[in-house]
């Protein structure tokens, strides 16, 4: 049994196996795996006794339910009006330059993915971004480099324990 199958079974036990439990289960898988593979979606369909197409249709509707493999830390830069006015592109360039990836890509070591997203609700502290569930506001290129450096440091320290 793949570990993800077990995860899905546990999530179904926890939330229930009805159609209205689908979203929490999808979210649970994304939280652990960072994305929904085709395999996960079929497994969820099996567990909840739903057509796999329904699970796929629902999952792909939501922008936070990724269905492509993502890095450990997903960076989402707000691109809506105020953040855009207050220098979002400079933040984006600083990140692209630092991580050597473009929007939509993942670093080869699988640590960071870079995405843009719609209004995060921090227009009064623009520009803003999310790194997984953590919010960072009033960004400047310097500040964003510091933030990502701290994640890299954390990753290096954590990595030695993981292996």
């Amino acid at each position: 049994m793949y570990p993800v199958s077990e995860l899905i079974k546990n999530l179904a036990d926890q939330h229930g196996r009805n159609r209205h439990n689908l979203l929490p289960i999808l979210q649970g898988v994304v939280e652990q795996e960072k994305y929904l593979s085709e395999y996960s979606m079929i497994e969820i369909a099996r567990e909840l006794d739903l057509p796999a197409s329904e699970v796929f249709g629902t999952a792909t509707f939501y922008s936070f339910l990724e269905y492509k493999k993502m890095g450990k830390y997903i960076i989402r830069i707000c691109k809506t009006i105020t953040c855009s006015m207050k220098g979002k592109n400079q933040i984006l360039l600083a990140i692209e330059d630092m991580l050597k990836i473009n929007v939509g890509e993942t670093t080869p070591d699988g640590v960071f993915s870079l995405l843009q997203t719609n209004c995060l609700g921090f227009c009064h502290k623009a520009p803003a971004m999310l790194v997984n569930n953590e919010v960072y506001t009033d960004l400047t290129p310097e500040k964003v480099r510091d933030i990502l450096s701290s994640y890299l440091k954390k990753q290096k320290e954590g990595g030695s324990h993981d292996n």
Binding site: T58, T80, G121, V135
Partner: protein, 394 residues
């Protein structure tokens, strides 16, 4: 033609919530009819933007006979330029929970849900703790009401009430046809009251101080205070509680940077008001104010003369194109064509009359789109194109 109403600050929403146990236990001893009357006489209207009378909403749902009903707090705050609901949920969550529980008492619901947008997941642990404490007290006073948080996953359209129900039912967040309305057929097909976070927080004020205290604020048709999310080109961005009915000129006087060219009232789905209209525009619900009165979910974005209105519109349209759920053609194709269209005009690939064609397209969307998203694209599009036509062209 000037509006005489001055900008007046109010301070109810973020005032202390420490007496919530008192407000809750006293309120649930009153009859549902009594509470509904109190709400109706306060003239509180929904603070999410649409402005439906809250008392009437509760009344309609209370009149339906069903053993299962739901109370849902809409915390899917996704309108660009709005960030007040998050602040309410983190500063005074007990007011919102109390509002939900009293609503449960009024309509006969035992279950409440908070639909929290995925972007606000960081609120979850703290809010969950608060809910536990709240439920514990409910049990203590023998009041049967539970509240659960349902997390969204990054879809603006799920703020539309019927799309929100679909999402909670584990489906794509595609709006339903109305009628039937949520008061008859809501979450799981059951009678449901769905209120914005701020609306519920205002019910707390009303149940605590009485309807008059609330009614005395604001102007005719637009009673009470409202939280405003102020952003853009302003020296003091942030959240402010103001009485409804102020003129936009007064607002700009207070929050502008001296060079304000236009204000977007109500977010991307709202209206852009150019400087020449500041004096004749009031912020409140449609009514008999002099000039135009604009409803708003509280989003106020200021633009100064360094901003290009083409870029502003381009940004909104890209937003709508991505957030359109795609189920109805006018909205799905309309948003794409509008975005393509203004770019083509800007580049000179289409002549300027094409803008009038696009304006007609927004009229079609207004008439034929299934939900508020597609219908309201016309608001920002026409108010920007009509007032800043020259900026669209070259």
């Amino acid at each position: 033609m000037t509006i005489s109403y001055q900008l007046k600050r109010a301070d109810f929403i973020f005032k202390n919530q420490n007496d919530w146990e008192d407000v809750l236990s006293k309120s649930i001893k009153r009859t549902p009819q009594d509470l509904i009357n109190e709400l109706i006489s306060s003239e509180l209207k929904g603070r999410g933007g649409a402005g439906f009378p809250t008392g009437l909403k509760w009344k309609l749902t209370s009149e339906i006979t069903d053993s299962i009903k739901y109370v849902i707090c809409n915390a899917d705050e996704g309108e660009p330029g709005t960030f007040k609901d998050r602040e309410i949920l983190s500063m005074v969550p007990f007011k919102v929970l109390t509002g939900m529980a009293v609503c449960g008492h009024v309509i006969g619901a035992k279950e409440g849900y908070i639909y929290l947008r995925g972007e606000y997941f960081f609120l979850f642990p703290e809010l969950n703790k608060v809910i536990r404490e709240f439920e514990y007290y409910c049990k203590e006073i023998n009041f049967d009401f539970t509240i659960r948080i349902f997390m969204g996953s990054g879809a603006y359209i799920c703020g539309e009430e019927t799309a929100l129900f679909e999402s909670m039912e584990g489906k794509r967040g595609e709006p339903r046809n109305k009628p039937p309305f949520p008061s008859n057929y809501g979450y799981m097909g059951k009678p449901t009251v769905i209120n914005n976070v701020e609306t519920l927080a205002h019910t707390y004020t009303i149940f605590k101080y009485g309807a008059k205290r609330f009614y005395d604020l604001g102007v005719q048709y637009s009673r009470g205070s409202k939280l405003f999310s102020v952003s853009g080109d302003t020296p003091k961005p942030g959240i402010y509680e103001l009485e409804l009915g102020m003129s936009l000129a007064d607002f700009v006087e207070e929050f502008g940077d001296g060079d304000t060219k236009a204000v977007q009232v109500g977010g991307a789905s709202g209206f852009l008001v150019p400087r020449k209209r500041f004096n004749e525009t009031a912020i409140g619900f449609q009514g008999k104010l002099v000039g135009i009165s604009l409803p708003t979910g509280g989003s106020m974005m200021l633009f100064n003369s360094s901003r290009s209105m083409f870029n502003v519109l381009d940004n909104y349209l890209e937003f709508f194109r991505e957030e359109s759920c795609g189920q109805c053609t006018p909205c799905r194709v309309g948003c794409q064509q509008l975005l393509k269209g203004i770019k083509a005009v800007k580049r000179g690939e289409k002549n300027t009359k094409y803008l009038d064609k696009l304006l007609r397209l927004t009229e079609t969307m207004k008439l034929t789109a299934k939900c508020g998203l597609g219908q309201s694209v016309a608001n920002s599009f026409s108010s920007i194109v009509e007032n800043f036509r020259e900026e669209m062209i070259y």
